[in-house]
């Protein structure tokens, strides 16, 4: 039903081509084998429209050119992260003013050799991690299924993006903060899980993890934070090491009086359901959930992603 191809010559501009130039959509839509070729309308210089089989071959060639094995059929639930849209706009030289407003800069270092950017959401059913007993900082594990990355694609870097939301103003906390500005600081630690849960976490104790990146943040702004997780992702893909996921914890810099681990965790949106933080609806969670972004090169062409075509 979608075997409808037409590269429109300039002379017709972007206007829809007259119906006669295209295969009329069959009434029954039987979806059977190749249809007989239909000739071009008399008086035109168009070639006869190619057969169904030829179109399938045509599409297969194009898909191969795009590095795809078959035509993607995205589900309705698929969500395009705004970061990917921003990267696209930046890459294609889109609305520069709008991008400046966003304060978005292309991660030059990450993309010096990359021509492909892929984004991944984690498998939510695997995110719980047993923690040590007591009021310890909350830790979550993110498992990202990277099996869709083609074997011949070399990932050069990867970033984990976490959204942190400004906490609502609290007069008492604000006064306290004014006297000790570092009071409200939180540290976000991102680890690679080196052993699966169970092997290294006896009785919910310590996990075998390795620190990948860390950052001290203040909860007075809403923004995305990017953490470099390249060593882990490169080990999983190029190195063939097992992927046990990433672990994230948010801890207050100073032992809290009114705020606590719960408040820290509320500030950073690391899970759909947070302690005393409410549960986001699906649409909001899709926009704010953690995102793994990989930068890779598929071995085709040489020009990196950072080379933007000048505006004509």
């Amino acid at each position: 039903g979608t075997a409808r191809a037409n590269f429109i010559p300039a002379e017709t501009g972007r206007k829809k081509v007259a119906g006669g130039l295209l295969h009329p959509r069959g009434g029954g839509g039987g979806g059977g084998g190749g249809r007989a070729e239909e000739g071009a309308p008399p008086g035109t210089s168009r070639r006869p429209f190619p057969s169904h089989e030829l179109l399938r071959g045509f599409e297969a060639t194009l898909l191969q050119m795009f590095g795809l094995r078959r035509r993607p059929q995205p589900s309705r639930a698929a969500v395009v992260p705004s970061y990917m849209l921003d990267l696209y706009r930046l890459q294609s030289g889109g609305d520069a003013e709008q991008l400046l407003d966003l304060g978005l800069q292309y991660p030059e270092k990450s993309t010096s050799r990359a021509n492909t950017v892929r984004s991944f959401h984690h498998e939510e059913d695997l995110e719980a991690l047993p923690g040590p007993p007591g009021p310890a900082p909350r830790r979550l594990r993110y498992f990202f299924n990277l099996s869709s990355v083609p074997a011949d694609e070399a990932i050069s870097s990867a970033e984990l993006r976490l959204f942190r939301q400004r906490l609502p103003d609290d007069a008492e906390a604000a006064a306290e903060e004014a006297s000790a500005p570092e009071q409200g600081l939180h540290r976000i630690n991102v680890y690679e899980v080196m052993k699966p849960v169970g092997e290294g976490a006896e009785g919910g104790g310590d996990l075998a993890t390795r620190l990948l990146d860390t950052r001290l943040v203040h909860p007075n702004v809403s923004r995305w934070e990017s953490f470099d997780v390249s060593p882990a992702v490169v080990r999983w893909t190029a190195g063939g090491e097992p992927n046990h996921g990433l672990a994230v914890e948010v801890v207050p810099l100073h032992p809290p009086r009114q705020t606590g681990p719960a408040a820290a965790a509320r500030h950073v949106r690391i899970s759909r359901s947070l302690p005393r933080g409410g549960r986001l609806d699906a649409a909001a969670w899709a926009r704010l959930r953690p995102l793994l972004v990989t930068f890779s090169h598929d071995g085709r062409g040489q020009a990196p992603l950072t080379r933007r075509r000048p505006k004509r």
Partner: protein, 123 residues
């Protein structure tokens, strides 16, 4: 170049049509919705690919962006028609970026080389 208007003055000669047929770039818009791909290609909706078409006449002018070999071939063609003229082909191409959903519902931003004709020439 602007169109020539003959006001009947008698003095002006109509501009020769030949230059219109010379090798140059023509617009060619590829609309992804026309191949039914707009369900998985997020952006762009289509793009200007352009194509090259036109004659490579003897003698080859500078703006026809020819090579030494093309000049020789055209020269030979002018005395021996069995040798073809140089061909009008893309001489400079650029890339486009595409944002799409792959077979696994993952969002991919990819840069594809040599998708847009930037310049044509006789080769």
């Amino acid at each position: 170049s602007p169109k020539h208007h003959d006001h009947g003055g008698g003095g002006a000669h109509p501009r020769p049509r030949k230059s219109k047929k010379n090798c140059r770039r023509h617009a060619l818009y590829v609309d992804f919705s026309d191949v039914g791909w707009n369900d998985w290609i997020v952006a762009p909706p289509g793009y200007q690919a352009y194509y090259c078409q036109g004659d490579c006449p003897f003698p080859l002018a500078d703006h026809l962006n020819s090579t030494n070999h093309a000049i020789v071939q055209t020269l030979v063609n002018s005395v021996n028609a069995t040798i073809p003229k140089a061909c009008c082909v893309p001489t400079e191409l650029s890339a486009i970026s595409m944002l799409y959903l792959d077979e696994y519902d993952k969002v991919v931003l990819k840069n594809y080389q040599e998708m847009v004709v930037e310049g044509c020439g006789c080769r």
